[in-house]
């Protein structure tokens, strides 16, 4: 197995940032930014294994992993005209009892999901 030179490795790592599709993360899964360049160089040392399907292999105490971009299950699309107005308060239209709920009841239900401040 051949090792890449550091300069080739650097070119390739910089390529990841330029591509805008993949990201690099460290062993803890924390994203590595291009501004962390000195750290990246330390992590790669002067020996770097070729990219495999699993990403870059471990080279020293730390390793760099290639994080593939996650694809959405529904892609962005332009909104249909009038879509926002069409769905305003739709639950109260389907179930008139919902319209009779007090604001405090809705607030309490949402609060049970999140620790949100209730705006007076």
């Amino acid at each position: 197995m051949t090792f890449e030179t550091q300069s080739n490795a650097e070119k390739r790592v910089r390529g990841f940032f330029r591509s805008g599709h993949d990201r690099l993360v460290d062993d803890n899964g924390v994203p590595i930014e291009l501004k962390d360049w000195n750290r990246i160089k330390r992590m790669y040392s002067d020996k770097i294994l070729p990219i495999s399907n699993q990403g870059m292999s471990k080279v020293s105490n730390e390793s760099v992993k290639v994080l593939r971009e996650v694809a959405p299950i529904k892609k962005w699309a332009p909104a249909k005209k009038g879509a926002n107005a069409k769905f305003s308060g739709v639950m109260s239209q389907d179930f008139p009892e919902v319209a009779n709920l007090k604001e405090e009841q809705v607030d309490r239900i949402v609060d049970s999901l999140r620790q949100r401040e209730i705006e007076e």
Binding site: W76, A83, R116
Partner: protein, 164 residues
Amino acid sequence: MAFIYKLVNTRHRLFPKADALFSDIEQGKYAGVISTFEIAEFQSAVKTILSEAKQTQASQNDVEKEMSKLDEFLNEMGIMLYNADVVVDHSPLIVFYRAEQLISSAQPIKGSWDQKWHTIGGADAVHLTLAETVRADSFATFDQGFKGVKGTSVKMLILSEVYR
């Protein structure tokens, strides 16, 4: 939970602000993004709201009817949907480790309306980590606790302040 305020009742005081956010999305000012984790929370809220309104256990049919409405809303608004399981599986270590980091660095914030202290909770931090992972630019919320979040590239869009 802007989706709740938008879809439940137009008379709620936070409806106009949620409506303004979705109006901006419709007009292309923002590209909306949601995860299946948020949808799970929405379903939880819908079950409770229907049960409370009808004073009886909400039927699964009724809940599914409203979940279909949410699905239609997402489709017609062109809002992107990410599968939270796929995002988590994509990087097994990142979500909970990162959520802990965000909570550790977050500062408690005194609410400007209720004068109580607020800090992001575990589910909030997971939502934010998902947002970071899919590279969302902003996180839209009514929760003032998010104002205390530090060290993230995601901008906090506090809806009570953005839409006055």
